[in-house]
Symmetry: C2
């Protein structure tokens, strides 16, 4: 399912040339190193981002400093959907989960341009739907499924978005994403490694048996991936 290696963002790539031209002059290339914060809850929005490569996490923070991931966004989408929906400040946090690069434009420019771009509008509506579906499934999955299943699902979803079998990822980090303790991930990831599905050393993880991993994940993975395929043409 992964591998095709698109160099560009899928939404931008799908735009008719006149609309892309309209955007182009306001787009700034931007490098996205791991852990870079793009948004923080309640803060005003400055930019929206289109990834060419890499993965961004949306997380919901709690008062006690912990947070739970509610959606992931890669080159298939746009980071900053709330701006499209009319927000001026962010409802959740977002940060770079797997390093990459892309382009951004100011929220003001985006708001100005969006009115003149029917295709972009249409694409973003559909992407918004895919994102909502992902959040809904994640909500239910978080509530119900065992850590090992969710762990496998998360690895698959990230795999779909990085176009590589190996990527940087510590257990500590994964624990934060899943909203669980690090030792729990240690056990779950250990099981997956023992089963020969993945391997990892000091912050780098490798997907060995993609199919096996799909079998180990809860069905939520396929539900989300199918929905993305229907709505935006790609599993992630």
């Amino acid at each position: 399912m992964p591998q095709p290696q698109p160099a560009t963002n899928q939404i931008l790539a799908a735009l008719p040339s006149d609309e892309f031209e309209r955007l182009a002059r306001d787009l700034q290339p931007i490098d996205l190193p791991t852990r870079m914060d793009l948004y923080e809850r309640s803060n005003p929005v400055e930019f929206v981002y289109f990834l060419h490569r890499g993965v961004v996490s949306m997380t919901t923070p709690f008062d006690n400093g912990t947070s739970v991931e509610i959606a992931t966004i890669g080159p298939e989408g746009m980071v900053g959907i709330p701006v499209f929906l009319g927000a001026d400040r962010m409802p959740s946090n977002a940060f770079v989960q797997v390093a990459g690069h892309g382009v951004r434009l100011s929220a003001d420019a985006f708001r100005r341009i969006i009115a003149m771009c029917p295709s972009l509008n249409h694409l973003l509506l559909r992407y918004t739907l895919a994102l909502m579906d992902q959040m809904a499934q994640t909500a239910a999955c978080n509530r119900t499924h065992a850590i090992e299943e969710r762990c496998a699902r998360w690895l698959l979803m990230t795999h779909d978005r990085v176009y590589a079998n190996e990527f940087p990822l510590t257990q500590e980090f994964l624990a934060q994403m899943l909203g669980v303790r690090r030792p729990s991930v240690s056990i779950a990831a250990g099981m997956l490694a023992k089963a020969g599905l993945i391997s990892y050393v000091r912050g780098r993880i490798t997907i060995i048996d993609r199919e096996g991993l799909e079998a180990a994940a809860c069905n939520c993975y396929h539900i989300i991936a199918d929905e993305f395929r229907r709505l935006v043409g790609k599993p992630g």
Copy 2:
């Protein structure tokens, strides 16, 4: 926070008269008895609904027959946002949680009309954002907070939408909504009752101490309610 008793749907009420006229001829009044199914996952969408009264639940079903609620919709919103976003089939289930009434119009009519109604478009974008925020917070809350807190939160959110201190609700039903076992609700609800915050008899629940209930709920309630207030002008 509840009580004002609007007889009409807030989104419809906020429309300029020309846009409302455009909708009006396609609106059919509809009664919404408890447990009526409005949508089922993967089925084609036939209608979108605007509630004047009552509460609808969106739930994500699992293969094993259980399901988890991911959002609630009352007279403040529209049931069928996925149609607005371009879906032709439903990603989740939806059914009537507290009986009420409203109007509906066919998905086709809705799609035809929406293009000619900039205000409706704008209102629905903002409502979509509020719904996403609710889902995100729910996802994180489901993962993290104790049953008693979530139970209190759920009662408050429903309270905001029914405009009455008493409404029908069994523990069995509440357990399904929270995605937990019924005995767990029995305990949690028992605690809230013992603390004098609520009372219930055989399927009818009464909110006695609204403030106390807010104190017993997790902060998620206020986060969601504040967001709704900012975006659509009402706590629920």
